[in-house]
């Protein structure tokens, strides 16, 4: 029973992380139609900017996280305005473009910070008892912050004017334009939001797990898996899929062993796709 509870708790933590990462990714796809291959590197940048703010600027950790989110969000917006927007209609090309951007970012970070994992630790240590198990405090905080961020995203998308605008854009651009919505601005803001969320995840999680220039690769993979399962472009799908994925990862990791668990997850995702080719909640029409 202890193990089960532990698996549940770890699964919840994974789910929160994955949701944070997947939401941004699926937003960009749903609204811009772009498969953002640079998403993982945004996560990684979030970690590095936070690390740099703490170690070089000597700022307190929460401020460092905020800086990481703002910086990376701004970078995301710039990438959209300067690069992606020129070819945003061409789904294949934007994929390749963001792929190129991710390579440049990873190389840039390696050049500045080197290849080895820097010393970046979470400022709060220790754990609190949670029933029969012990929940590490750092993971608890990450979960809470993630949860708040996810809630904020939901409120933004489903309850605000901005959210209505981007949802209209994702359905039909020409109609949205007649209502005075400017895709240029909204696209840039969406990219900023997406990158900011990934950076938040990075700034929170990398001090607990590990930080390196290639930290984004497995994150990108996770984003793919969760978003494919949930359905590309579906926010609700991404959330459900994040929970399912997080739980499977956790339970498989504990009961079956690391890579076998991941393997089972991947096979499961493909199995789901055979019966539901657009994922659990995906809309059939969109895509290259």
């Amino acid at each position: 029973m202890d193990t089960f509870l532990l698996a549940l708790v770890i699964g919840a933590m994974f789910s929160a992380q994955y949701a944070l990462i997947a939401l941004g990714f699926t937003l960009v796809f749903g609204i811009l139609g772009v498969v953002n291959f640079a998403h993982g590197s945004m996560y990684m940048l979030g970690g590095y900017v936070a690390y740099w703010s703490v170690s070089t600027l000597g700022l307190p950790y929460p401020i460092a996280v905020a800086i990481a989110v703002l910086f990376t969000g701004l970078l995301g917006a710039l990438i959209e305005i300067l690069l992606v927007h020129r070819i945003v209609e061409d789904h294949l090309s934007t994929l390749i473009l963001t792929l190129g951007v991710s390579l440049v970012i990873v190389t840039g970070v390696s050049l500045i910070f080197g290849h080895e994992a820097p010393q970046f630790t979470f400022p709060i240590a220790g754990s609190i008892p949670l029933g029969p198990a012990y929940m590490p405090l750092d993971r608890l905080i990450v979960m809470i912050v993630s949860g708040v961020a996810i809630l904020a995203v939901y409120l933004l998308i489903f309850r605000s004017a901005f959210g209505r605008a981007v949802r209209a854009l994702s359905i039909d651009q020409s109609i949205a334009r007649t209502y005075g919505m400017n895709p240029r601005v909204l696209f840039a803001v969406t990219m900023a939001l997406s990158s900011g969320l990934a950076a938040l995840a990075g700034a929170l999680v990398t001090p607990i797990l590990s930080l390196s220039p290639h930290a984004g690769e497995s994150v990108l993979l996770t984003a793919f898996v969760v978003v494919i399962l949930g359905g590309l472009g579906s926010i609700i799908g991404a959330t459900w899929a994040a929970v399912i994925t997080g739980m499977i990862q956790s339970f498989a990791g504990i009961y079956v062993g690391g890579s076998l668990g991941t393997l089972l997850l991947f096979v499961l995702v493909i199995a789901v796709l055979t019966v539901r080719p657009s994922g659990l909640f995906g809309a059939p029409a969109r895509g290259a």
Partner: protein, 338 residues
């Protein structure tokens, strides 16, 4: 017959363009390389280029249909490991191993393709990325068969009519054999179906509206692409004398995609040019093993924004301006066929 009279026979032609011929000739000429230089470094770089070319061809074959395929390293692994395992069981002949390296991925690709190709383009791309990861995990989880994270070493060398292929030039020729077979397969595929693939890539809906069974051609191209990748995997394993999971990571799929896109996605020549240029660039700047990725990234961004048809596209535009529009692709009409 009036000068501008349109033709009454709309004959479909086999696609074997000028650039295809150049590619074939170039690769045939490459057989002479060990005769021209005994420099081991050059031979090694050339071998790597040949391997890269197989990967690039595999990417090209699907990209021709408008599908970006990240599963190339995965199928390379299948081909490479299948041949290495076969060698452990005593199968050493070059031709037999080439056959195995090609067939094993094809056999896997047929059912996988059936599942994966029903997905919309974007899902296809992401799932192929997943497939390569799955192959990695399977390798790691089956150490008794694949050597797991240590890889397979010490398997018997490939033989050519009994002679062991272990010297520098011999290894080059092994890679060459894989590449030339890969090219012939690719030429067959594009010769027979090039126009169908282009139609699907540029206006799939129109093609379907006229009656083209696009699903069938996708399902057909995927195993061919996998087989070609397998040949490259075989060559890579021979070059390294080891079958190791790190040779076939999902990240390495970027390399082959870069070769194709930067060289020119529309033709086999583009795949060749891109591979030769980029492999030479990486190995020349061997200090920039890490930086090569950044270079790829910049090149990809640049080519997507400004050089859509790659290096080949640039040359083609120049050639067209010089040559004008004098291409007579179809024979003159013989009169009414009644």
């Amino acid at each position: 017959m009036k000068k501008d009279m349109p033709y009454s026979v709309l004959q479909r032609e086999r696609q074997f363009s000028g650039s295809d011929r150049v590619t074939l000739v170039a690769l045939l000429l490459a057989a002479a390389l060990p005769l021209l230089t005994s420099n081991i470094l050059v031979q090694s770089v050339a071998s790597q280029a040949l391997i890269g070319f197989c990967g690039a061809l595999a990417v090209h074959l699907m990209l021709r249909l408008g599908l970006l395929n990240f599963s190339v390293p995965g199928f390379m692994a299948v081909g490479g490991y299948a041949a290495a395992i076969a060698a452990e069981y005593g199968v050493q002949d070059l031709f037999a191993l080439l056959g195995i390296a090609f067939s094993a991925p094809v056999v896997l690709a047929i059912p996988i393709g059936w599942i994966v190709l029903r997905l919309k383009g974007v899902y296809f791309v992401l799932v192929t990325y997943l497939l390569t990861e799955i192959v990695q995990l399977v390798i790691v989880e089956t150490p008794s068969l694949t050597g797991g994270t240590n890889g397979l070493i010490g398997f018997p060398p490939t033989t050519f009519f009994g002679t062991e292929l272990i010297s520098g030039p011999a290894v080059y020729y092994t890679c060459y054999a894989a590449a030339i077979v890969a090219l012939f397969v690719a030429l067959w595929s594009t010769r027979s179906y090039g126009d169908i693939y282009d139609s699907q890539a540029h206006n799939e809906t129109l093609a379907q509206s006229l009656g083209l069974d696009t699903a069938r051609y996708k399902a057909q191209a995927f195993p061919v692409s996998a087989g070609v990748a397998g040949l490259g995997g075989f060559a890579l394993v021979q070059l390294l004398i080891t079958a190791h999971p790190l040779s076939f990571t999902a990240a390495s799929s970027v390399n082959y995609i870069a070769y194709v896109l930067i060289g020119g996605a529309a033709s086999l020549l583009g795949a060749l040019l891109g591979t030769v240029v980029l492999v030479t660039a990486i190995t020349q700047f061997s200090w920039s093993g890490e930086y090569s990725l950044g270079l790829f990234g910049l090149l990809l961004i640049f080519s997507v924004l400004f050089m859509r048809d790659g290096v080949v596209g640039v040359f083609t535009k120049i050639a067209h301006t010089i040559r004008g529009r004098n291409q007579l692709a179809y024979p003159a009409t013989q009169g009414d066929p009644t």
